[in-house]
Assembly symmetry: C2
Homo-oligomer: 275 residues x 2
């Protein structure tokens, strides 16, 4: 059939001309948790923290997974992600960015589902509401040896873990290929999403200011350094660290005392410093 105009074509368009499928959005939220130190002199130890949700229904009933859900066709992808986060965990108004779209044929045992994943960042101490009871924060530990990344999760009651092989590719396709080689803990392909988020964060901390989404309004440089070290998964030297973040923060008049050592100046984030 020949149409004379775009509007005529649209009026006759059969919206079921092509096969349809379901889409979901899964969100990996990272934060930092404090563990009170037993020694009054020592800094509180900080841990990487990720929010998981316990599945109430099949498939993967009673397993932990990332907050996620089907795409509401009236919403933009990012809006949808924010909606799901609010609905499943009670968290809202936070930093969020798109990670990657996973479309493996059998990622969902029910039907073909394509999932667009998002990464969210938050300082969980700043949350003014409690997270719903089906959700829980897990401390996250990364152990990388050669090409195997082992990630362990611990919420104080349960321990989860999985292993992923991370292969560097030279010329073909994306830079790394991720392959889950062990996972009895997490539903779907969510281990991949967590690792994708960790890598993204590790890269972006170097050339953006997104870390400050994980910091309280006022913080010491010691605390900020701890967060850098968690994300980069390595120790930093003080002078180098201070040079790097010098343009991104500004001093306040306030000091943090009470630590059994020299008090620390409290800093705040200074936007737009880097040209």
């Amino acid at each position: 059939m020949e149409y004379k105009s775009e509007s005529e074509f649209l009026a006759h368009y059969d919206k079921n001309a092509y096969e349809k499928l379901s889409m979901t959005t899964d969100i990996v939220i990272f934060s930092v948790s404090n563990k009170k130190s037993d020694n009054y002199r020592k800094l509180n130890k900080k841990y990487f923290s990720v929010l998981l949700v316990k599945r109430k229904n099949y498939p993967f009933k009673d397993m932990w997974c990332l907050p996620g859900g089907f795409l509401d066709l009236n919403l933009e992808l990012e809006e949808n992600a924010r909606n799901i986060l609010k609905r499943e965990t009670n968290i809202q108004d936070i930093y969020i960015e798109q990670l990657y779209t996973f479309g493996g044929l059998n990622r969902d045992p029910r039907l073909r589902v394509v999932a667009t994943s998002y990464m969210a960042l938050i300082d969980k101490e700043r949350l003014n509401q409690e997270v719903y009871e089906n959700a829980d924060w897990f401390d996250l530990f990364v152990n990388e040896q050669n090409d195997i990344v082992e990630i362990s999760l611990d919420n104080g009651k349960e321990k989860l873990s999985f292993k992923i092989r991370k292969t560097l590719k030279e010329l073909t396709t994306d830079r790394y290929k991720f392959e889950v080689i062990e996972n009895k803990s997490l539903a779907f392909d969510h281990p991949l999403i967590i690792l994708t988020g960790l890598e993204r964060l590790k890269n972006k901390i170097e050339y953006t200011d997104i870390v400050f989404n994980m910091m309280p309004p006022l913080f010491t440089l010691g605390e900020l350094k701890q967060v850098y070290e968690i994300i980069l998964n390595k120790k930093l030297l003080d002078p180098a660290f201070r040079r790097i973040i010098a343009t991104k923060v500004e001093k306040t008049d306030e000091l943090q005392t009470g630590g059994g050592h020299r008090p620390s100046v409290l800093y705040r984030y200074k936007a737009n410093a880097n040209k």
Copy 2:
């Protein structure tokens, strides 16, 4: 209804429980084109090159767009992208990586469509088959002033162009926000996909080896430098450039002569050099 097991649940699952939608895949392919120089001494001038397809049907009938098409539900996303490329342009077996997933509510006038975009790279001189006649290579020029990026396309017969505002975001959402502010030439939101690809390539040239997907098997360092300059959109100095690529290439015994100047050593890509 209560299920006793995952398999029982799956046997009864209603695959239409959630609203469904269509997905498409759009591919932006970059290459480099040579323009024979009029002066026998001078190097051939190189241009950034992108492959567009002329739409035969509504919507956007007779406009140029990126090769793209609906998702075949039996294919992985990347496979689907490769299939479409082959079908629409006759190009196959090339580097491809996922860019970003666009899900704006009105990006397609027909119906809600979510598009996962891919970037592909090729040395088009190496193609052994002709591109289909509805497809054509356009030279691409980028003109960036303050926060406005103007991109012009030229296939020798038609000139297209569009402008995008690129806003740096500090703490909220992704690093840059792209906003099309002028486009009479390209269908759908394809200007956004092209710019996303250009930015990705510009970033990745620094920490990966993907440029070599755009190079012939043997090349001179002068040619490689030209390609770097096109992608980075700035002039490079020779010693600095040679230091940067030193570990990625290796000399061959062959020379390129005939240029009215000192012959140039031909190099080839050396994989796995960077640790």
